[in-house]
């Protein structure tokens, strides 16, 4: 197998007499798939006229692992670990999105404590994902300190998740009907400590970046996205909100009990990279606010059920599986032969990249008919030519960072 060869397509006519000698030819530059600043294995073919990008073509698929096909082969219950690895900077969010779609298909309701734990996990994942955005975009634009700052805070989230789930990332801790195990006092203490410290850290980082002349100049009026463009190009999440659209699935179509929480939805004005940066930083603060409220709810629902009771779909708690024959049989049956009712369902969550949705179709057998993953990252990648054409090459890095996609979910 060879890399596809480039054909040199001459967009501008050859140099003639009296022509400006500096605008004779264009050059084709290949960015990726191995590149520090493409946030994964993205390849962008750029036709350059000097430093100006004339034509841009992203090439995706370098991380296509066949997940949608895997779902059909593995079955609904065994696909959970695969969902973690979709948008791998926020694994639990993808887990919850998939579980919600299956629960919608099955008509299952998650008990309140299970919902509260899920909201806590989702907000921690959102903070983690925005930390990655901040750290990697900043280091790509030269602010190397931010990488170390944000990864230090990510380590704290990893400590919490390690104490709770046993693994730092790709936790797969969500099940159909709730979560795998209950949150105990140690984990609550760790979360409280983390949430108390984070806002001060974010203030610190804003002192580094928000008023910084270099950051401002590199991001202000770069990659301007209007509201109509955002809607036509199927962009959602912070990219849409940066362009002035106040839309958040947690407010418009609440799931998992989000209607019980108080939080604001930050909205930008201009729709450039700087606005998207401000939106994401403010979203981190709002996530901290929501997470504080979940701690309160956890206290009030102490002792409640975190897993629904439905023998057909819900895995029994592991301690009972190891001691009781009946639960062992149910565990075996659900993992190998889970049947969901025939039909289709779509459920979307507000992930850190946008609207992450799962369209699941079942024909009543144990083999899934279709599981389509509506990945917001794919739409974000599609918007790169829209935002970057005509700009200078160095703006490409700012635009890729501010569109914020993760190749695991783009390619699936």
């Amino acid at each position: 197998m060879t890399l596809e060869t480039f054909e040199f397509v001459r967009e501008t006519p050859p140099l003639g007499e009296g022509d400006d000698p500096l605008h004779g030819e264009t050059m084709e530059l290949n960015m990726g798939p191995q590149h520090p600043a493409t946030h994964g294995v993205l390849r962008v073919k750029i036709e350059l006229d000097g430093e100006t990008m004339r034509k841009i073509e992203p090439v995706v698929g370098y991380l296509h692992r066949g997940k949608e096909k895997s779902c059909e082969s593995l079955g609904w219950a065994k696909f959970f670990p695969h969902t973690d690895r979709l948008d791998y900077v926020q694994p639990l969010m993808n887990n919850v999105a998939y579980a919600l779609a299956l629960e919608r298909l099955a008509g299952l309701v998650v008990p309140e404590r299970g919902q509260v734990i899920r909201v806590l996990l989702m907000e921690l994942s959102r903070i983690a994902a925005h930390l990655i955005y901040l750290g990697t975009t900043a280091i790509d634009l030269g602010a190397v300190t931010m990488f170390f700052n944000t990864f230090k805070e990510r380590e704290n989230i990893y400590t919490i998740l390690d104490a709770y789930t046993g693994h730092r990332m790709n936790n797969t801790y969500v099940r159909i009907g709730g979560v795998f195990a209950d949150v105990d006092e140690t984990v609550e203490g760790l979360v409280r400590e983390f949430l108390e410290r984070l806002p001060a850290e974010i203030d610190d980082w804003e002192k580094l970046l928000t008023g910084n002349r270099i950051w401002y100049d590199r991001n202000r009026d770069v990659g301007v996205l209007t509201k109509e463009q955002a809607l036509a190009w199927a962009l959602t999440g912070p990219n849409l909100r940066g362009s002035g659209v106040e839309h958040d699935l947690r407010k418009t179509q609440p799931y998992s009990g989000y209607e019980r929480y108080e939080f604001e939805v930050p909205v930008g004005t201009v729709g450039d990279c700087y606005d998207r940066y401000l939106v994401r930083v403010e979203e981190m603060r709002q996530s901290v606010r929501i997470a504080h409220q979940t701690l309160g709810h956890l206290q009030s629902t102490r002792g409640g059920e975190f897993l629904a009771e439905d023998r057909r779909y819900v895995l029994p708690p592991k301690d009972r599986v190891h001691t009781s024959m009946e639960e062992l049989i149910f565990q075996f049956k659900i993992v190998t032969d889970l049947r969901l009712p025939s039909g289709e369902a779509y459920h979307a969550v507000e992930s850190s990249k946008g609207e992450l949705g799962f369209y699941v179709a079942s024909n009543g057998t144990s083999q899934p008919l279709r599981c389509h993953i509506r990945a917001p990252g794919l739409m974000n990648v599609q918007a790169i030519p829209l935002l970057a054409e005509g700009r200078l090459l160095s703006d490409m890095v700012a635009i890729i960072g501010s569109l914020d996609f993760v190749m695991g979910e783009v390619d699936r």
């Binding site: 197998m1 066949g66 190009w233 779509y346 794919l378 599609q382």
Partner: protein, 178 residues
């Protein structure tokens, strides 16, 4: 989510926009307003949904391979309206080899979605300027999400796995510690 039946406006609005075009209302398990249309009116249906019913954004376009049913493929478009905050889903059945109208002119964001449908199922879209593979290499010869395509792939993947298995069968554990 709008529940079809509790008409907060979606169903009447869509019905009014699609006046004159044949469509059948479905009752999916998630309660989303969903219609089934024939392939011949699909292009008009999508245009009317954008222009008259105000669905400014396309959420996803995907296919479902319902082998051995005929027609084989089901093409699903899901649309979203910001102004009215609701969604609608359009289902069409396509035979193997039949092409569908492209909606890139209406929603530029549908370009990658249609390319992915082509890549995974082999469904072509008329009017798409640049219909090539999105996720698989450009010279790949199969459409992976079809039901008759095995999970582990066909040639040359089978050859590769045979080579890999033979290679691994010769490995032995080390005799002495390093």
């Amino acid at each position: 989510m709008d529940v079809a039946g509790e008409a907060t406006g979606t169903v009447p609005r869509v019905r009014e926009a699609l006046e004159g075009l044949e469509h059948v209302w479905l009752a999916p398990r998630d309660g989303l307003p969903a219609i089934s249309v024939a392939r011949s009116v699909l292009g008009d249906v999508l245009a009317r949904l954008k222009q008259r019913a105000g669905f400014e954004s396309m959420t996803f376009i995907t296919g479902v391979d319902r082998l051995p049913a005929v027609p084989r493929f089901e093409l699903v478009h899901q649309l979203w309206s910001l102004a009215h905050d609701d969604r609608v889903r359009v289902h069409t059945r396509l035979a193997d080899g039949e092409s569908a109208p492209s909606c890139v002119a209406l929603w530029p964001g549908a370009a990658y979605m249609e390319r992915e449908c082509y890549d995974m199922f082999g469904i072509t879209f008329d009017g798409h300027a640049d219909l090539k593979r999105l996720l698989m290499p450009d010279d790949y010869g199969h459409h992976p999400l079809r039901k008759d395509f095995p999970h582990q792939g066909i040639e040359p993947d089978r050859l590769y796995r045979e080579w890999d298995r033979n290679r691994r069968s010769h490995w032995k554990p080390r005799e002495t510690a390093p």
